[in-house]
Point group: C2
Chain length 180, copies 2
């Protein structure tokens, strides 16, 4: 099964150095535990899941609390069908609404309702407190800038290499609020 002599070496060499492996393991461990804790805290304190929070948060971060469904999906790195189902459930709970897009007849906008914003606002302090306590409280402040830069570099890399479309920066621009 190896009649292809050396057209391109198989490269069984480990693609990660020792230190990279350790870093990756630490990342995964943090991710797993933090996910668990965030979910739990949000659920018990606010009746929101982390998924709900991601959606509400992304919407709230947008002028008018309104975003096209596909754009929102790209922003939070969800499958579009997942978002579609989830919006259905959140609509039933009164947290968001759907309304046909003005720009594109095919598209739908997800819109934050007043109730949705209220729930988000109610949930945010507890969530932020958890982040402060779980993530930053044990972190040497001297490492913060490096951590930030590193994460931003990784983010950029994932965007560049990833299969998912780069999120549209339908973002709030400082001092530029197009209004409703």
């Amino acid at each position: 099964m190896s009649p292809k002599p050396k057209s391109r070496r198989v490269l069984p060499e480990p693609p990660l150095t020792e230190e990279q492996q350790e870093t990756w393991l630490a990342y995964m461990r943090v991710k797993l535990r933090l996910n668990y804790e965030m979910n739990r805290q949000l659920q018990t304190d606010s009746g929101l899941s982390l998924a709900d929070y991601d959606v509400l948060n992304a919407l709230a971060d947008c002028p008018g609390g309104r975003m096209q469904v596909g754009v929102l999906a790209a922003r939070i790195a969800w499958e579009r069908s997942r978002l579609s189902h989830h919006l259905q459930r959140m609509t039933a709970r009164g947290l968001v609404e759907r309304s046909p897009s003005e720009q594109d007849g095919r598209a739908t906008d997800a819109v934050l309702t007043a109730a949705g914003r209220a729930e988000l606002d109610a949930a945010t302090p507890g969530h932020a407190a958890l982040v402060a306590r779980m993530f930053f409280a044990g972190l040497d402040p001297a490492l913060l800038p490096a951590l930030r830069t590193a994460l931003e570099q990784v983010h950029e890399q994932v965007l560049a290499e990833g299969t998912l479309p780069r999120p549209v920066s339908q973002h709030r621009l400082p001092g530029l609020y197009p209004g409703s």
Copy 2:
């Protein structure tokens, strides 16, 4: 709605500094996208989900590929019932087996099968390559040590503050293999 004068100040102060917020946002963005990409890559290239991979990986990292179910759950930060269901499915696929624990009559061990180990081995290079490409390729090597230390500090903090039991270090100790 503010008839409770100042029994305890409401503390609307933001618990996070500007730089902490940015760091947190970067972390969340990385987490969302990387999760998406890892899932996708594993699924299409190996027919394993990221969840499968987490389980197999944890087991393989243990002498004999055998671990008590609850210990495994703590290790990968899953609800125990989730793991129970998942093991059932993985058992049906022949990736793992269950066998009653020798030490504790109540407990069950999850055991990696030969097929499970083979699948894991087959999936690992692709997964590692993805990590190398998405996570490390864009990272300034000078930042690596700081990133690692920061993540390890955060991990320690989550363990200390979290609600989940600290994972038992039923880990492979260098030079100390109790054997099967």
